[in-house]
Assembly symmetry: C2
Amino acid sequence: MHRTMDAPPPTDARTRILDAVEAIVLARGVGGLTLDAAAKEAGVSKGGLLYHFGSKEALLTGVMERLSTFIAAEFEANVARQPEGPGRVARAFIAWAFGEADCSPGHDHHDRAAAVFLAAFHHDPALLDPMRAQIARMKDLLLNDGIPHGAAMIVMTATDGLFMAHLFGLYRPTEADLRALRGSLDALLEPAP
Amino acid sequence: MHRTMDAPPPTDARTRILDAVEAIVLARGVGGLTLDAAAKEAGVSKGGLLYHFGSKEALLTGVMERLSTFIAAEFEANVARQPEGPGRVARAFIAWAFGEADCSPGHDHHDRAAAVFLAAFHHDPALLDPMRAQIARMKDLLLNDGIPHGAAMIVMTATDGLFMAHLFGLYRPTEADLRALRGSLDALLEPAP
DNA sequence: TTTTATCAACCGTCCAGACGGTACAGTCGC
DNA sequence: GCGACTGTACCGTCTGGACGGTTGATAAAA
């Protein structure tokens, strides 16, 4: 059950089902996610879906777990990519928010995260617990990153806010908005003059 | 059986229904919001509810419109409360995010906004359009507030992020976190030394 | 003044459809 | 033979919505 990154169709059913959940939520919204729809989208019978995930909750748990571990891995990689020293974690946060991680085609990881997020939360807010744990860890690291407390909090909330604006489509920042935001965030991480 | 027996709730049925929607979403989540539940919570029969709001979508539209106008009014009031000059709008944003607006008992306006937000978005993302228009106006004012572009964007995203963390319960900032955040945001609005 | 008609504001019931989930017999590749 | 499915049929529950009352206030007609 590894990540055999092969041709488009021959992925295993489990992965296809998980992908189908994300695709449906992105295309049709949380309300469009039914077991029947997920099965059809994954090219699997309903019985087959229930063979892998015994209930809708199990399905959402699965999708949530996959997202959590993916986010965790991406975060680690992002941190490793930054130069050592104060502000390293903060820079990883910023890099993630501005989407400099992978280069997956089609839907980027923000969209997929948003879809999973909404679907899980709607079914049962407690399903977000793995993600909460992950966020707590990341917050902990960020607050011990050798930068002022307030700067760390700004990085945390600003990146969250960017994500939320995207999630709900509240507004679309222009390129100039993003450049300015990024510039100011970077400036925050410079040692005081 | 109109204005006779009600001593405690002298509000009209329409308002009670709108309030009931918010209360239900807060207490039982988006999935718990049904017409029956809303009717019962409002002390109205299902037929009566459908008399005022002909469909669930109409109900959510109503709740969304009320929220939009409320937010707009609150924003205006918050701006008026700040001293004139550069950073006035930004300070209003910050004041709102830190909940210094009204003193409504029971549920604060953040909780109610969150409830309406989630319920409307779940039914149909397009229902957020009134709110999007409102946010666009607020963003416009913020970006012409006489402060650097990047600072304005930080204020915008940071306040959104704070709201989102609350909305999904992703993490609970400590008092110290909030103080530090607030201090750094305020410092951003000081004219460069 | 009495009767009748109209109208808004509800009430309570019923229903078709959708959804999550079960059951189970059969199929196909290893 | 066995695990990994497929396909169909079915069940109980819930939901949005339709529909036909009922009630009390008000207005018009007698």
